[in-house]
C-alpha cells in the first residue's frame, strides 16, 4: 500500500511537468498581454518594453517556463498584472470554490445515491421511470438556464434570497448555487448507481447472503451497495476536479469569486500568471483526487489489493 502510493506520487511528477508546460505554452502563445493593458489605443513602446521585462515576456518561452517553475518551487506564483500576488488570489478563491464543491458533492452523494438505490431496487416501477425522466430532463437543460432561472425566480421575483453571493460567500448563500452546480452530476450519479445496483442485485454473493438468512436491509447496505459504489466513486473522483475548475458558469451567474471566475478573468485579460498558477494547482487537485479514488477501490472491494 505504502509503496503503491509512493509509486503513484512519483508518476505524478512527469504528468505535472507535462501539463504545466503545455498550459504555459498555450497561454503565452495567445498573444501579447501587455497590449491589452493599454486599452483601446496603441501602447507606448518604451513603457510596453519595461512591462515586458518585468513579467519576463521579453525572453524565449522555454526560459520563461524555467524561470516560472523555479519560482513556483519557492512558493512564488508571481503577480497578476494588477500587482496582486497570485497566491493571494488563490487563498481567497480556493476556499470559496472548495466550499461550493463540497456542498455540491454532498448533495450529489446523498440525493444521487439514495435515488439510485431506490430506482435500482424497483426497476421498471413508476418510481423508476419518473426518476429516469427527471434525470434526462436535468441532463438536457444547460446549467446557465437552470442557474439564471433559479436566480431570477428566487432572487428577484419572490425575493427569498439575495441573487448575488457576497464576497465572503458563507455556506448559506452557497446552497442554491451548490444545488444548481450539483444537478447535472446528480443525474449521472443516480443513473450510475441505479445501473450498478440493478446489475449486482442478481449477483451470486447477494443470493448467498440472502440464503444465509441475513436480513434484506443488511444485505442491501453492506453487500449490495458497497460493491455497487465503485463506478460511482470513480465518477465522483473526477467530478471533484470538474467542480473545482468547471464551476465557471455557476460562479459567474451567482457572483461567486472562486476559481472558475478567477480563471475566466485571467483568460479574458490574458493574465498568464493567474491562469497558469490556478491551473497548476488544479492539476495537483485532479491527480490527488484520482489517487484517492484508486485507494478507495480497495476499501470498497476487498478483492482489490495494492502492493
Amino acid at each position: 500500500m505504502g509503496r503503491y502510493v509512493i509509486r503513484r506520487l512519483l508518476q505524478m511528477v512527469p504528468v505535472f511537468l507535462g501539463t504545466t508546460f503545455l498550459i504555459f505554452v498555450m497561454v503565452y502563445a495567445v498573444g501579447d498581454p501587455v497590449n491589452a493593458m493599454f486599452g483601446d489605443r496603441a501602447p507606448d513602446p518604451a513603457t510596453a518594453a519595461q512591462l515586458r521585462a518585468q513579467f519576463n515576456l521579453d525572453k524565449p518561452v522555454w526560459m520563461q517556463y524555467v524561470l516560472y517553475l523555479g519560482d513556483i518551487f519557492t512558493g512564488d506564483f508571481g503577480n497578476a498584472f494588477n500587482g496582486q500576488p497570485v497566491t493571494e488570489l488563490m487563498s481567497r478563491a480556493f476556499p470559496v470554490t472548495l466550499r461550493l464543491a463540497v456542498i455540491a458533492i454532498v448533495i450529489e452523494i446523498i440525493i444521487g445515491i439514495a435515488l439510485g438505490v431506490v430506482t435500482g431496487l424497483r426497476r421498471g416501477r413508476p418510481v423508476d421511470s419518473s426518476v429516469l425522466m427527471l434525470t434526462l430532463l436535468v441532463i438536457s437543460v444547460p446549467t446557465f438556464v437552470t442557474g439564471t432561472l433559479a436566480q431570477y425566480l428566487l432572487g428577484v421575483k419572490w425575493g427569498w434570497i439575495p441573487p448575488a453571493v457576497s464576497p465572503e460567500a458563507p455556506v448559506g448563500e452557497l446552497l442554491l448555487p451548490g444545488l444548481v452546480l450539483a444537478l447535472l452530476s446528480l443525474a449521472y450519479v443516480t443513473r450510475l448507481t441505479r445501473a450498478s445496483i440493478s446489475e449486482n442485485a442478481r449477483a451470486d454473493y447477494v443470493r448467498t447472503a440472502l440464503a444465509k438468512g441475513l436480513p434484506r436491509r443488511r444485505v442491501n447496505t453492506r453487500h449490495l451497495l458497497r460493491n455497487s459504489l465503485i463506478p460511482v466513486v470513480t465518477f465522483l473522483g473526477t467530478d471533484v476536479g470538474n467542480l473545482m475548475a468547471g464551476a465557471l458558469v455557476t460562479e459567474r451567474i451567482f457572483n461567486i469569486q472562486g476559481v472558475g471566475f478567477q480563471l475566466w478573468q485571467g483568460i479574458v485579460r490574458q493574465n498568464s500568471p493567474t491562469v497558469v498558477g490556478f491551473v497548476t494547482v488544479l492539476v495537483i487537485v485532479f491527480l490527488l483526487a484520482n489517487l484517492i479514488v484508486d485507494l478507495l477501490y480497495a476499501v470498497l472491494d476487498p478483492r482489490i489489493r495494492y502492493g
Binding site: G31, G78, A164, P170
Partner: protein, 546 residues
C-alpha cells in the same frame, strides 16, 4: 519581493477559512444591509486592470475610484465637460508654452498633509518616468524634458529622473515649460493622470497601494482587491462638490448580468455597465431609472493609407462611396438599441458645439445614399482589387454584429455578394499587433476614447503626421500646419483652427466616421440624481440616498 508568500500558507488558510465559514454559515450574508448601509451608495465595480495609481489607470473602473479620491488642478464639469479650476487658483501664460500655476490654499490630502506644488511636480515626474511603467505616461509628453525621462526608443535608458520643464517656485506655485506651443494644455489637466500625490505615495508605496490616499471628496476606508472598496466622505476635502451621501461601496461583480439581477432585486444602487443583451428592455425593467447620454467615444473605419492602392485620388473617391454605402442609422438602432448615434464628424457630442462638435461637418458623405455610393465607386474603377475586407477584434462591444451589418450594407449597395467580407480577429491584443505592424490591407475598425474633452484630443493623436495613434498612416502638411497654429493660438481661436483641420481630414477621409458611443447606466429606487460625466463615470458626489 512582493509575491513571495508560501503556497502552504495559501492551503492552510484555505482549510481554516472553510471550517470557520462552515461553522458560522447561513446567517451572515443577506441581513447585513440595512443598518450600516444607510446613506451609502452601492455601486457596480469590476477589478481595475492595473494598480490604482493615477498615471497607471486608463479604464473606467479604476477611473471611478480616482474621480472620487482625487482632484487635480482642473476638473471637467460633469454636465458641460468644460475644464474648471479645482486645486488651481490660476494658470497663466503669455506665449502658450510657459505656464505659471498657482494653487488654492487650504487643500489637504485625506491623511491631513497639505497639497502643495511639490505634490503635483513629484506626481507628474513619477508618472512620466519610464521605469515606473505607468500606462498613461504619454499624458506628460508635452512637458519639456519628457524625452529624457521617457525615451521613445524601447531599449534606451532614461537620461534624467525629473522633467526639466517643471519648476517649483513656492509652496503653492510652480512653472511648467512645454516642448511646443499648446494653448489648450491647461484644459488637459482635468485628467486623473495629473492628480497630485501625497508624500506617503513615495515613501510607503506598498501600503499606499493597499489603501490609496488622495485629495478628493471621498477617502478609501477599506479596499479588498477583487471584492469591494468602501469609501466615506473625506472631511478634509476643500472643493465645492461635497458629497450628498454618506459614502460609496463599490462591489465587484463576476458578471454584468449578475449585477443587473442584483440591481433589479434592489441590492445594488448604481450600475453603469448594462449588459448589451438587456439594453432593449432596461428602460422598462427599471421603470425609467435608466440613463443614456453621450460618452467621448467615436468609432471609425480606417484605411491603410500606408499601402499604395489606398493612396490615389480614385481610392479617395472609393472611400467616400463606401462611407455613403453604410446605413449607420439602421445599425445604431437595430444592433445597439439607440446607445450609439450616427456620426457626422470626427469629434463627439460631449464637446458641445462651442467646443468644436459639428454634427453636419461630414455632410452627405456620412449619409446613407446607396445610388450615389454605387456611382462613385464604379466611376473610380471599382474597389481596389475588386473587394474590401473589414477587420476588427470581436471579443467585446458586439463588433461582429455591426461588421456583418456594414458589409451587408456595402454588398447590397454594389449588388455583389463578396464585395465586402469580414475578418474577425479573436482578441483585441492580436488586432492591435496587426495594426501596429501595419499588416492590414483593407478597412479596419478604429475606436477612440477621448483622454480629455477637447477637440485637439480627437484630431492631433489620430491625424497628425506620425502621431501616436495615427493608425491609418495619414499625413497632410496642411493639417499639421493648422494643428500647430491652433495650438499656438488662444483658446477660442484654437477651436476654429482645429475644425478647419478636421474639414481637410474629412475631405481626404482616411477614416470614415461611424457612430458616437453613449454611456448608459441604471439605478435603484433608493437613490436619485444619478448621472454620468463625459467619461461615462457616475458622478457619485451628486447622488442622494433616500
Amino acid at each position: 519581493m512582493r509575491g513571495a508568500t508560501r503556497v502552504t500558507w495559501a492551503f492552510g488558510c484555505a482549510t481554516v477559512v472553510t471550517l470557520a465559514a462552515a461553522g458560522c454559515g447561513g446567517g451572515g450574508g443577506g441581513g447585513a444591509a440595512a443598518g450600516s448601509d444607510a446613506g451609502i451608495v452601492r455601486a457596480f465595480w469590476t477589478d481595475p486592470q492595473n494598480p490604482l495609481e493615477p498615471a497607471n489607470t486608463n479604464e473606467v473602473q479604476g477611473g471611478k475610484v480616482l474621480e472620487m479620491t482625487f482632484r487635480g488642478l482642473k476638473r471637467y464639469n460633469p454636465r458641460t465637460g468644460k475644464a474648471e479650476n479645482a486645486v488651481a487658483e490660476s494658470i497663466k501664460t503669455d506665449d502658450q508654452q510657459n505656464f505659471d500655476i498657482t494653487l488654492k490654499k487650504g487643500w489637504k490630502f485625506s491623511d491631513g498633509t497639505p497639497v502643495t506644488a511639490k505634490s503635483f511636480v513629484d506626481a507628474w515626474n513619477y508618472g512620466a518616468l519610464v521605469t515606473n511603467k505607468q500606462v498613461s505616461s504619454y499624458f506628460f509628453e508635452y512637458i519639456d524634458g519628457y524625452d529624457d525621462v521617457h525615451p521613445e526608443n524601447e531599449s534606451a535608458k532614461p537620461k534624467a529622473k525629473k522633467m526639466s520643464g517643471l519648476k517649483v517656485t513656492g509652496k503653492n506655485s510652480f512653472k511648467v515649460k512645454l516642448n511646443q506651443k499648446f494653448s489648450q494644455w491647461p484644459d488637459t489637466l482635468g485628467y486623473a493622470a495629473f492628480s497630485p500625490l501625497p508624500g506617503k505615495f513615495f515613501t510607503d508605496h506598498e501600503n499606499w497601494l493597499k489603501k490609496p490616499v488622495g485629495n478628493g471628496p471621498y477617502k478609501v476606508d477599506s479596499y479588498t482587491k477583487g471584492q469591494s472598496m468602501r469609501l466615506s466622505v473625506n472631511k478634509e476635502y476643500a472643493g465645492p462638490d461635497k458629497p450628498k451621501n454618506k459614502g460609496v461601496e463599490l462591489k465587484v461583480y463576476t458578471d454584468q448580468n449578475t449585477g443587473y439581477t442584483d440591481l433589479q432585486a434592489g441590492n445594488l444602487d448604481v450600475f453603469d455597465e448594462l449588459p448589451a443583451g438587456q439594453l432593449k428592455n432596461a428602460e422598462r425593467d427599471l421603470d425609467g431609472r435608466y440613463i443614456n447620454q453621450p460618452a467621448g467615444i467615436l468609432q471609425t473605419l480606417s484605411f491603410p493609407l500606408y499601402r499604395k492602392e489606398w493612396q490615389t485620388e480614385k481610392a479617395k473617391q472609393v472611400r467616400v462611396g463606401l462611407s455613403m454605402a453604410i446605413n449607420r442609422k439602421e445599425v445604431t438602432e437595430k444592433i445597439y438599441q439607440g446607445t450609439r448615434k450616427p456620426a457626422g464628424d470626427l469629434t463627439s457630442p460631449v464637446l458641445t458645439k462651442s467646443g468644436g462638435y459639428e454634427p453636419d461637418m461630414c455632410g452627405e458623405v456620412c449619409q446613407y445614399d446607396p445610388k450615389e455610393a454605387k456611382k462613385l465607386i464604379e466611376d473610380a474603377g471599382g474597389l481596389p482589387g475588386g473587394k474590401v475586407t473589414l477587420t476588427s477584434n470581436v471579443d467585446t462591444g458586439s463588433h461582429r454584429q455591426w461588421m456583418d451589418a456594414v458589409c451587408n450594407s456595402i454588398n447590397n449597395t454594389l449588388d455583389k455578394n463578396d464585395a465586402c467580407t469580414v475578418n474577425p480577429v479573436p482578441t483585441f491584443s492580436e488586432f492591435r499587433k496587426d495594426i501596429a505592424g501595419k499588416k492590414l490591407k483593407s478597412m479596419f475598425r478604429t475606436g477612440w476614447q477621448m483622454d480629455y474633452p477637447l477637440i485637439q484630443n480627437f484630431l492631433q493623436p489620430l491625424y497628425y503626421t506620425d502621431a501616436s495613434s495615427n493608425d491609418a498612416g495619414y499625413s497632410d502638411k496642411r493639417v499639421d500646419k493648422l494643428i500647430d497654429e491652433a495650438n499656438a493660438a488662444g483658446e477660442e481661436e484654437a477651436v476654429g483652427k482645429f475644425q478647419k483641420a478636421e474639414e481637410i481630414v474629412l475631405k481626404d477621409l482616411p477614416a470614415i466616421p461611424l457612430w458616437y458611443q453613449d454611456g448608459n447606466a441604471g439605478y435603484s429606487e433608493r437613490v436619485s440624481d444619478v448621472r454620468l460625466n463625459p467619461f461615462s463615470v457616475p458622478v457619485f458626489t451628486d447622488i442622494r440616498v433616500k
